[in-house]
Symmetry: C2
Subunit: 767 residues, 2 copies
């Protein structure tokens, strides 16, 4: 109850500080506001109707019903797409919650009759079939309501809807349907306070209670089990699926029951929601109040440290040295390479002010460091003896993307390494490009158990200003999308040529000693995107699944089988054995931890560590003590098997290696099974729609690539607001062409345009 | 000559692109400029007289004399203070150069007579005694010329002076004196092109040649040996110092002769110039074209990596976990803690634009992360079981200082670690504050061989918004200034209290379970300043001196004694032995490198590695081969001693440890000898002027501290433009008070104000 009181107080504070936007008309007026007042027009976009004052009246009326919101959060105006993110970014929101969706439909009525809208309140993840609902309620031709109707009935826009739009006044005028699974849920639900900028958090029971107070004999509250409704529909349409409903129900129940501690959203149903939930519940990441920026918590940052340590050793062997260049770039330097800057300029963040002073010239935050570094390469490289120059830096870069951000995959600030090297000859540069690419492959395959395919990017997709780009391409089976996982570029002499950074040495092979040799350059980068790809591929409906080689805890040891009857002596013996086992394993080089927390059940601990993806759980109970064994439970498969304590120092490391390689093999089998050889255009979109990647003979012409993107987008299934573009682009031209039949020059045709094909090329939707 | 031609071409390009500022009056006019044109008013401040067009005429006239500038650099308007930095930041400037100073004086003349100004051209580091010059040339009462006179004679301001102001027209009207050491120098000199925004680079001989073309019988060029002039002056005034001149001359000659490869500026003479030269020649750092930002090259970054690795191991043992928080902070969050933000707001860099879009609200780049992190601490800390929470991050922060930047010591962007921890009790927080402080002491003393004194900061000097600040204070003997080397703050409950970030748990010790316990917090940080302090303390006139524990190369092995007569077989035997020795040492854990570069003499290599500070050089020549030994040469002392090859795996590591501890002991002896116990105000300023730190009984009152700063600044010696404030501030109140006589309450008086003293406190000038 501490929280509720706190929330209520804050609410009063908030409403006291708010001043309606209308009262402010100029900067002058703003300055004369009372201290601490926050002008509405700055923090909140104008609402179509309804002001913040209504928040106080809402909570008052809830309090009258003995309903206390668990929390109240104010945020920027949100829509269906960014609401969850805004809430997760708030420090006042509960850690675990679901969002509600409230949809308004208009059934067909006689033209002269007053319409009776249908209001459906459901969990975000519930699949709502409005036609089926209409059928069940005997409503005809149910259509999504217009904005006009929303305005007429509720004086609100679609981004302010929630059960709270229903009041003693409005409820009798509509038909209300509540997702039955809400009523019975112990989850917390985010509920809009008749506003796109304020959200309350209520339990399912509270929502049910609220709606019940409104219901009358004439307007009963309809509770519908959408899962059952859908099953009924399926059962009706297909007689073969008789067994399905029961099985499906059971599956859902499993997720529902565990909602407080497990992920709560199914990977297959709502991938984006599942992904963010896994990240948050596994304590990998937290949302931050600057959009597109995220907090990397120790559980994910430690993975980055493993990658850093591994990669540093390898590149040091190659003679690469770490350094640090400033994060700021002057406009003049940034804009030196035209193609390059064109690729980045829409995303550059500019510092224009320091303290109270405007800077004379705005300064960019680096989106990458080519133009930061190369003026100094020109200065440092004076002789062929200064070559090769190989520097790398681990840093943060900023690309102010305006597309929907996604943790790890598309963020405005991210961490990465960027290597920048200069050579006397193209041959040396080429060799390094491939060596680095293979290190990237190893980071993915050997550390993260994520299969990738190596290849070269098309001209359209290559690095802006470079000569060619090699890439490791990953694949997210759940969405069927490709993901660019790391790139190693040969820049050629484009940045070194005289009009650019003018990086040259006297050609040591020129007998006159007069000729200049412009250096050959590479740049290569790998980012924290690695972590996101790993989560997407291995995670399941219990949460994260970590490959052992990157897990900061590889083995967790949990004492079990302790009951009220267990003697103190026995408890101590079990607890001591857990601790001893952890120490034995640590000495054997295993990252082990005994979870001896008091006051938590073994079940809670199991869930906790499963959510966090610890690869192996070892249980020790009284029976194990007697048998001198421990029960091992694999996170990846759930398979349980006893391990004699005498063998742990060899058996556990071996088991971890088995888990690592099994995880990789499963992921690779999936990837390869979704890599579809296609030779006719008609098969391209259907293959993409089956969540596969197309590999087809291709002409390698840019116009053809543009055309493929457009044609595949046009015919694609209707897309989720949150999803990246539905058009297919070239992912890479794989180095290993031997998987597919030889391209016959002059004979094999491009599957898209029919011209001469050059190589087999992977096309797919992508991140 | 390649460079010269290039420079000349660039010059033509530059002058073509320049359009006089006068021709541009409005933004509209700017937009209508020809493409590629750079409006003068944007890039160059208006000159008092003389336009950029003169640059072309200057180089043309030089070319007429067969003098080719080695480079031409344009930069923002500079004065004596920031000229060198601006040049070093330019990628077109030569790597090694000296700046020239050109001073104009007016000797006393009859009121009716036209004055004949005295123009003295000298090296920046030459001490010019204008009175002595006047005496030598029979000029009376030589005074610095007024700006009016500069305008009258040269139509220039004092920031545009150089030998090039002397032309066929002006030369006959003045007396010209040239520092004789320039004429004979093979150094490159930076020479202003009659402008504060353009600099040419000429050799000493070119400068002499240029001036000689101007000289006439009536107006001969006076060459003066200022060193000898000063010695004559000294010899005349003191008869005891008879032996001094010769010795001094020899010393100077040594530096002069080695100017191409050694530091070129004496540590004792021009500390700031020496410091930047050491950093650049040792390849620790390079200047960058955004002022106050610097490039950390591998030679310094590797030291940072050693510190990171060492510190990570220690804090992990303490249960601290690494994480990463975003670099951006919203204004609202940043400004939440008033005292705290007051301390930082004048230095905050603001991002206001992304791509072409203005941001709705400006976003700050973190100056530190308290307000970034603590909203999430409030979210994550829900129970006393979540305590302690201990996070650390290695990142970059920005403090847009407007004071003079100095590499490593005061930079606008810097790298550091910041730890942020939360505890249930003050006792735990206090304990950690001191544990961390001791780790900082160890980083300095055990890794960097830099002595520090631990203590607590005064109220005035503590961290803005914290409860108390502990510090390790270092000392730079050459300047006599203290340097804050690392701080560990207890924030108390100031950030956790309800009006702030509201970070609390239910008090586990409250039987009712109702009481809230607000957490106790610490924050602690150590930055790349560590590296600058180390350089300043250990470096000498040969360059950097690295303590073995942080050197990325600890031992360099150089083949010696190879002459024209040496057979190929002997050469190979020596070279093989060097390589073998390096491998033997590497296997013994020593970071060794054999320098087998072809085409460089051993002397060049010795200088090269001395400049870079490698702790130990091992030489192997034909005689060593015979004796089965190597000659060891210590970088810190220059002491040479043979080491039998059979003993190297023990002797070399032992010697490195000896070097490490000798370096520390010497630095500590110096520090302690400059820590002066003072009890009377009269002694304070004279003690500071002797480049010492004062330790005095102090009342610990803020008004008294303000007063001390003001009084000590007033009476201080005239200060260098580049130097930080001359006023003394409290450095710390040392924890170990036992070094000084006990303070007797009610009896011992504050040395500054006479009130009751509390503790012995260190006061000093500082960085």
């Amino acid at each position: 109850m501490l929280v509720s009181r706190h929330a209520a107080r804050r609410l009063t504070r908030i409403s006291r500080r708010l001043i309606p936007a209308q009262s402010i008309t100029s900067q002058k007026r703003v300055e004369s506001l009372p201290k601490g007042a926050v002008p509405l027009c700055f923090r909140y976009r104008p609402l179509s109707t309804g002001t913040m004052a209504s928040v106080e009246s809402i909570t008052q009326s809830l309090t009258g019903l003995s309903i206390q919101p668990v929390a109240v959060v104010t945020h920027d105006a949100t829509n269906a797409t960014n609401w969850r993110e805004a809430l997760q970014a708030s420090s006042s929101a509960p850690q675990s919650f679901e969002t509600l969706k409230t949809m308004v439909y208009k059934p067909k009525t006689a033209k002269t009759a007053t319409p009776v809208p249908l209001v459906i309140i459901a969990r975000e993840s519930t699949e709502v079939n409005s036609t089926a609902v209409g059928k069940k309620l005997n409503l005809k031709d149910v259509r999504v309501a217009s904005e006009d109707l929303l305005n007429e009935f509720f004086a609100l826009d679609k981004n302010s809807l929630s059960p709270l739009i229903l009041t003693a006044e409005t409820y009798p005028k509509v038909t209300t349907v509540l997702d039955a699974s809400i009523a019975s849920s112990s989850s917390l639900f985010a509920v809009r306070a008749r506003s796109s900028t304020t959200t309350l958090f209520l339990t399912g029971k509270d929502i049910l209670a609220y709606l019940r107070t409104l219901q009358t004999q004439d307007a009963p509250l309809q509770e519908i089990d959408f899962q059952a409704l859908m099953s009924e529909g399926q059962a009706a349409s297909t007689t073969q699926a008789a067994a399905a409903p029961a099985k499906k129900e059971k599956e859902d129940a499993k997720i529902e029951g565990a909602v407080q501690i497990a992920i709560g959203i199914k990977k297959e149903v709502d991938f984006a929601g599942w992904y963010t939930n896994v990240l948050i519940k596994a304590e990998m990441l937290d949302y931050y109040n600057v959009s597109g920026c995220y907090i990397l918590r120790p559980w994910s940052y430690s993975i980055w440290e493993v990658i850093q340590d591994w990669f540093n050793v390898r590149i040091r062997e190659m003679g690469v040295q770490n350094a640090y260049f400033p994060m700021f770039v002057s406009a003049k330097v940034l804009e030196r390479e035209k193609d390059h800057i064109e690729g980045f300029s829409p995303e550059v963040a500019w510092v224009t002010r320091a303290g109270q002073s405007e800077l004379e010239e705005p300064i960019a935050v680096r989106p990458t460091s080519e133009t930061v570094m190369y003026p100094y390469y020109a200065k440092w490289i004076k002789s062929h003896r200064d070559l090769p120059l190989k520097l790398n830096q681990w840093n943060n870069v900023v690309r102010w993307e305006f597309k929907n951000p996604q943790p790890f995959l598309r963020t405005r600030e991210f961490l990465w390494q960027e290597g920048h090297t200069a050579f006397l000859t193209k041959q040396e540069a080429d060799k390094e490009v491939h060596e680095i690419l293979d290190l990237y492959r190893q980071v993915y395959e050997d550390l993260l158990a994520v299969p990738v395919i190596r290849g070269v990017k098309s001209e359209k997709e290559k690095f802006a200003g470079g000569l060619y780009t090699t890439t490791v391409e990953g694949f997210i089976p759940t969405t069927g999308r490709g993901v660019q996982a790391g790139t190693s570029h040969c820049l050629g002499q484009n940045f070194s040529r005289p009009e650019m950074f003018n990086i040259f040495v006297e050609d040591p092979n020129d007998p006159t000693g007069q000729a200049k040799a412009y250096v050959w350059q590479n740049s290569w980068g790998l980012s924290t995107r690695t972590i996101g790809v790993m989560v997407m591929i291995h995670g399941d409906n219990q949460g994260l699944v970590l490959p052992p080689r990157v897990a900061s805890i590889q083995v967790v040891i949990v004492p079990c089988g302790i009951t009220a009857k267990t003697t103190d002596e026995q408890r101590k013996a079990i607890s001591d054995k857990c601790e001893e086992l952890a120490n034995v394993l640590k000495k054997a080089g295993v990252k082990a931890k005994a979870d001896l927390r008091e006051g938590y059940t073994p079940g809670f601990k199991f869930n906790d560590w499963e959510q966090k993806g610890v690869p192996l759980r070892l249980e020790i109970g009284p029976a194990d003590l007697v048998k001198n064994q421990t029960l091992g439970v694999r996170r990846d498969t759930g398979v349980k098997a006893p391990i004699p304590l005498a063998d742990v120092t060899s058996a556990v490391p071996n088991l971890l290696e088995t888990i690592q390689s099994d995880m990789f093999k499963r992921a690779q089998d999936t990837y390869f099974s979704r890599l579809k050889q296609v030779t006719r255009w008609e098969d391209v979109v259907p293959t993409l729609d089956e969540k596969c990647v197309v590999v087809m003979p291709w002409c390698e012409e840019e116009a053809c690539e543009d055309d493929i993107k457009e044609r595949s987008a046009r015919s694609a299934e209707p897309q989720d607001e949150r999803a990246p573009s539905a058009g297919a682009k070239s992912l890479c031209i794989p180095f290993d062409q031997s998987r597919w039949p030889p391209i016959e020059p002059g004979k094999t045709e491009c599957a898209a345009c029919g011209k001469d094909a050059k190589r087999w090329t992977m096309f797919g939707r992508s991140y």
